[in-house]
C-alpha cells in the first residue's frame, strides 16, 4: 500500500465564509444585492431603536459602470444611530465573528456576520475598500477606508481621518462597492422595504435606486416599542456547554444559590423543589460536579415541570398600536384589527406572536385568490419561500368561510414573531419551522383578528341585506295577490298595504 501524506491546514473564519458565501445569502448577483441592502438596513435599525433613537435611514444604490448592465454598484447607507466608538470600527466591519449582537436578547440579525459579509463580497468582486464614517455624538467624527485580510480575518486600515463634529451628529455612514444584478432583485427589494415600513412605522426610510427613483417610507408614529433587556438563560433551553460556561464564572458555592443566581425566573422555592426532583443536595458545590452529574442536571432541567415560563422582558414586540399604525400607513385598509398574544415559550426560548388583519383599501388581491400574507421575524420581513413557513400552513388550515371570507377578497394577514431564538427551518432564514407551541399561538392570534373581521364583514353584509329584504316583499306580495285572485275568480285584488307595513316594521328590528 502506498501512503500519501496528508496536508492539514487551518483557515480563518473569514476564509471559511469567503469559500461559503451562500451561507449568508450571497449565492448569486441578484441575491447579493438584496442581502447587502437588507443587512445594512438591519444594522442601522439595530443601531438606532435599542438606543431610543427614532431611525432615519437613507439608502442609495448607484450604478458605477458606464451602463447598469455591467452590474457594478455603489451602495451607501446612512443612519442616525448611536455610532460606533472609533477603536471598534475596523473590527466591527472587517472581522468575522466580532459583533455587538451575541447577547441573550432579541436582535434583528442573529449570525452577526451580515455586514462583514457584505464588505467581503464587495471586496472580492470590485477590489475596492469600504468607507465608514461614524460618530457617537461626541466632538469627533471618524472616517475609515478599510479592507479585509481574508486569510487572517483581520481589518486592513487604508486610511483613517478625524473630523470635528460641530453639530453633535451621531450615526454611521457605510459606502461599499459591489457587483450585483439589481434589475432582477428589484421586486424583492421593494417588497422588503415596504414590509419593513409596516413593521417599523416609527422609522423614516428613503431609498434611491440606480435610475434615481425615490422610494420614501415616512414615520407615522413617534413612539418606539419598549426595548428588550438582556436576560438569563431559561432552564428548559440549556445544554451541557451552557452549564460549563456558567460554572466557570460563577461565585456560588451551592447549587441552591447557583440555580437562583444564573437562571431565568428561578426563585428559592423553585430551586429547592427542582433540586429535590433532580436528586442533588442543595449544598452541592457546582464547581465539583462530575461530567455525568452535569448531564443529569441538564436532563432534569429539561424534564422538570415546575419552572415558570420565561417572561418577555428580553423581547421587543411591536405592540398593538405600532403594528396597527404600520398597517394603516402602508395598506390604507378599510378595516384593520391587530392582537398581541401573551408571551409563550418553546424549549426555554420565550416568544411573542403578534397578528394583524387588513381588509380593503390598498390590500392586494392575489392572482391565486389566496389571502396575502406578510411575515415578520424580530421585525424583519421575510420575503422568500412563503409556502414553507409555519404561518402559511396555519392560514391554509383555517376554514375562512366561517369568518365570512370569500376567495378573492382583498385581505391581508400580518404575522410577527419575536423571540430570542427564532426557530429557522433553514440556514437561509426565510422560513420559520412548525413548532407546535408557535403554530398554536399563530392560529389563536389569526382566529382572534379573523373574528373581528367577521363582525365587520357581517355588519357590512347586514345593512346590504336589510335593503334587499324589503324589495323582495315589495316585488312578490303583489304577484301573490294578483294570481290568487285570478285563480279564485275574484274580481278584486286583495289589499296588501297592511302586510307591507308590517314587513317594514320587522325590518327595523
Amino acid at each position: 500500500m502506498q501512503i500519501i501524506s496528508q496536508v492539514f491546514q487551518e483557515i480563518s473564519p473569514a476564509d471559511f465564509f469567503y469559500r461559503n458565501k451562500e451561507i449568508a445569502g450571497f449565492s448569486n448577483p441578484a441575491r447579493a444585492i438584496f442581502s447587502a441592502i437588507r443587512e445594512l438596513i438591519e444594522n442601522s435599525l439595530d443601531a438606532t431603536e435599542p438606543f431610543g433613537i427614532l431611525p432615519d435611514i437613507y439608502i442609495r444604490l448607484s450604478s458605477t459602470g458606464e451602463t447598469e448592465e455591467e452590474g457594478f454598484y455603489t451602495l451607501r447607507v446612512e443612519d442616525n444611530g448611536s455610532g460606533i466608538p472609533s477603536e471598534y470600527i475596523p473590527l466591527a466591519f472587517c472581522q468575522f465573528l466580532f459583533s455587538s449582537k451575541y447577547k441573550l436578547k432579541q436582535t434583528r440579525g442573529t449570525f452577526g456576520l451580515g455586514g462583514t459579509m457584505t464588505i467581503l463580497y464587495g471586496q472580492i468582486t470590485t477590489n475596492k475598500p469600504v468607507e465608514v464614517l461614524s460618530s457617537t455624538g461626541d466632538s469627533k467624527i471618524y472616517g475609515y477606508r478599510l479592507m479585509i485580510d481574508i486569510e487572517r480575518n483581520q481589518p486592513i486600515i487604508l486610511e483613517k481621518k478625524v473630523y470635528e463634529n460641530d453639530g453633535q451628529w451621531h450615526g454611521t455612514i457605510v459606502e461599499v462597492n459591489l457587483e450585483g444584478d439589481y434589475s432582477k432583485a428589484k421586486p424583492k427589494v421593494i417588497e422588503y422595504l415596504k414590509q419593513t415600513a409596516i413593521a417599523n412605522p416609527y422609522a423614516n426610510i428613503m431609498f434611491v435606486d440606480p435610475k434615481g427613483r425615490l422610494y420614501k417610507f415616512e414615520r407615522t408614529v413617534s413612539v418606539l416599542p419598549p426595548q428588550p433587556k438582556e436576560t438569563l438563560p431559561h432552564p428548559h433551553g440549556v445544554d451541557v456547554e451552557t452549564i460549563y460556561r456558567i460554572i466557570r464564572v460563577t461565585k456560588c458555592k451551592t447549587l441552591l444559590d447557583f440555580m437562583q443566581e444564573h437562571f431565568h425566573r428561578v426563585g428559592r422555592q423553585i430551586a429547592k423543589s427542582f433540586l429535590e426532583f433532580a436528586g442533588f443536595p442543595e449544598d452541592t458545590d457546582p464547581k465539583r460536579l462530575k461530567p455525568e452529574e452535569i448531564v443529569k442536571l441538564v436532563q432534569a432541567m429539561k424534564s422538570f415541570n415546575g419552572f415558570l415560563p420565561p417572561d418577555a422582558s428580553c423581547l421587543s414586540p411591536l405592540g398593538e398600536e405600532i403594528l396597527k399604525a404600520g398597517i394603516m400607513k402602508e395598506l390604507e385598509p378599510e378595516f384593520a384589527a391587530v392582537t398581541q398574544r401573551k408571551p409563550s415559550a418553546y424549549s426555554g426560548h420565550p416568544f411573542i406572536v403578534e397578528v394583524g388583519v387588513a381588509y380593503g383599501g390598498k390590500v392586494p388581491v392575489r392572482s391565486d385568490n389566496d389571502i396575502t400574507l406578510y411575515r415578520f421575524a424580530n421585525k424583519i420581513p421575510l420575503v422568500y419561500d412563503e409556502s414553507g413557513d409555519v404561518s402559511w400552513k396555519v392560514i391554509k388550515s383555517i376554514d375562512w368561510r366561517r369568518y365570512n371570507v370569500e376567495p378573492g377578497m382583498p385581505i391581508a394577514i400580518i404575522v410577527h414573531i419575536c423571540s430570542t431564538k427564532i426557530p429557522w427551518k433553514t440556514v437561509g432564514k426565510e422560513m420559520i419551522a412548525d413548532r407546535p407551541e408557535i403554530s398554536r399561538e399563530i392560529l389563536n392570534g389569526v382566529r382572534e383578528v379573523a373574528r373581528k373581521l367577521k363582525v365587520y364583514l357581517s355588519r357590512k353584509e347586514k345593512v346590504k341585506r336589510e335593503k334587499e329584504r324589503l324589495s323582495v316583499f315589495l316585488r312578490y306580495l303583489p304577484k301573490i295577490a294578483e294570481f290568487s285572485a285570478k285563480l279564485a275568480r275574484e274580481e278584486k285584488v286583495p289589499d296588501i298595504k297592511n302586510l307591507l307595513r308590517r314587513v317594514r316594521r320587522f325590518g327595523e328590528g
Partner: protein, 362 residues
C-alpha cells in the same frame, strides 16, 4: 275482459277544481290580512316510506310550511301561486306545455326562475299540494316513447274528439304523447303488454310480428320510462286488465327501470296512479347471462355501487325473483344488453328466448 272506465273530461274538471281551490285558499288568507301560508307534505328523504300495501313509495306525515311572511319563502310562494294560475290556463284551454316552456313562460309574468331546475321543483310542489301528476295539468317532459299493437283508441284532445286510431296503423310505432295518454281505450284483441327498454328491440319485435305471435301490445320505454309512459302502462294494465311484462338490459340500471314501472320512484312518492304493481320484470335476468351464454361485460364500480344500493332498497326486499337476481349479479359480476342475443342471430330473441320466458312466468 272487465274494463275500468277512463274519462279525460272528468279528470280535467277535477284538476281545475283543485287548482281553483288552492287559489281561493291563498286569496282568503290575504283578505283576512294574513301572510298566506301553504302546507304540503315534505318530500325530504326522511319522509319517504315504502308502503307494502300500495307497493310503492309514499310520503309520510311530515309537512313543510311555506309562508309569504318569511323572506326565505315568499319567492317560492309567489312562484307556486303563479304556477297554479298558469297550468290552470293551460288545462282549461286544453293546451300542453313542456317543462322548458313553463320555465320561459314565467318571464312573461315577471316571475323569475333562476334555472329550469327551480321551475321543475315548483311544479313538483304543486303536484304534492294537489295530489295529481303534472301530466294531469298538461305539462310534459321532452322524452318520447312509443307503442304498437292491436288497440283502438279514441282521442279526447281538441279537434280529434271521437276520432279513433288503431295502434298498428304505423309500423314504426305510435308516439306516446299528450294526445295518446289522454285517449280512451276502445277495443283490443291483445292479452298482454310487452314493454322493452330499447328502440332497436322494439323495431325488431314489430318486424318479427311479436304483437301477432304473442297477442301483445308492445311498448317502447326509451330507457327510464317517462312518467306519461308509466301512467299509460298503468292504464293499459288497469283498464284493459292485461298483464305487463318488462324486458330490459341485464344490469342494475335495467332492472331498476322495471322496478320504477312496478313500484314507482322515490321522486314521485307524492303521487299515486303512476305504478303498475302487478307488472313483471321478464328479463334479461342475470341468470340469463349464464343460462344463454350471452356476451357480457364486467360490472364497473358504478354498477357495483348501484347494486349495493338496490340491495338495501325496501322495494327489492322479500321478493324471491329480485333477491335471486341481485345475488346472481353480485356473484357473476357481469352485465349484458338486450341486443346481446343477436350473437345467435337476429331472430333468436323472438324465436327462443321470448316464448321460453313467457311460458316460465305467465
Amino acid at each position: 275482459m272487465e274494463r275500468v272506465k277512463f274519462s279525460a273530461r272528468e279528470k280535467r274538471r277535477e284538476v281545475l277544481a283543485r287548482l281553483e281551490g288552492f287559489g281561493h285558499e291563498i286569496y282568503r288568507q290575504l283578505e283576512r290580512g294574513l301572510f298566506p301560508q301553504i302546507v304540503m307534505p315534505s318530500r325530504s328523504t326522511d319522509n319517504i316510506y315504502y308502503d307494502e300495501n300500495l307497493r310503492q313509495y309514499v310520503l309520510g306525515e311530515k309537512k313543510k310550511r311555506r309562508s309569504a311572511g318569511n323572506i326565505g319563502h315568499i319567492r317560492s310562494v309567489a312562484q307556486l301561486v303563479w304556477m297554479a294560475f298558469f297550468v290552470h290556463e293551460l288545462t282549461s284551454n286544453q293546451k300542453t306545455s313542456t317543462l322548458r316552456d313553463v320555465f320561459y313562460s314565467a318571464q312573461a309574468y315577471d316571475i323569475p326562475f333562476e334555472s329550469q331546475d327551480e321551475s321543475d321543483n315548483i311544479i313538483t310542489d304543486l303536484e304534492s299540494i294537489l295530489g295529481c301528476a303534472r301530466e294531469d295539468f298538461n305539462v310534459f317532459p321532452e322524452e318520447r316513447s312509443a307503442v304498437f299493437g292491436d288497440l283502438t283508441i279514441e282521442y279526447t284532445v281538441p279537434n280529434y274528439e271521437g276520432k279513433r286510431l288503431n295502434l298498428t296503423s304505423h309500423p314504426d310505432g305510435v308516439m306516446i304523447g299528450p294526445a295518446l295518454t289522454s285517449a280512451e281505450f276502445i277495443e283490443t284483441s291483445a292479452d298482454k303488454i310487452i314493454a322493452v327498454e330499447k328502440g332497436g328491440l322494439f323495431t325488431r319485435f314489430i318486424e318479427e310480428r311479436v304483437h301477432e305471435k304473442f297477442n301483445a301490445i308492445l311498448v317502447f320505454l326509451g330507457g327510464q320510462a317517462p312518467r306519461s309512459t308509466r301512467y299509460f302502462i298503468r292504464r293499459l294494465n288497469q283498464e284493459l286488465n292485461l298483464p305487463v311484462y318488462i324486458f330490459t338490459d341485464a344490469d342494475p340500471w335495467g332492472m331498476h327501470i322495471a322496478m320504477v314501472i312496478i313500484s314507482g320512484s322515490a321522486n314521485a312518492a307524492h303521487l299515486r296512479d303512476l305504478t303498475t304493481p302487478d307488472a313483471k320484470w321478464a328479463g334479461v335476468w342475470a341468470s340469463d347471462i349464464v343460462k344463454y351464454k350471452l356476451p357480457s361485460e364486467k360490472l364497473d364500480d358504478l354498477d357495483i355501487k348501484r347494486l349495493n344500493e338496490l340491495m338495501r332498497d325496501p322495494r327489492y326486499k322479500e321478493d324471491e325473483l329480485w333477491q335471486r337476481e341481485l345475488n346472481m349479479f353480485m356473484k357473476i359480476q357481469k352485465k349484458c344488453e338486450l341486443e346481446a342475443f343477436s350473437r345467435y342471430g337476429l331472430t333468436h330473441i323472438v324465436d327462443k328466448y321470448l316464448p321460453e320466458r313467457l311460458r316460465e312466468i305467465e
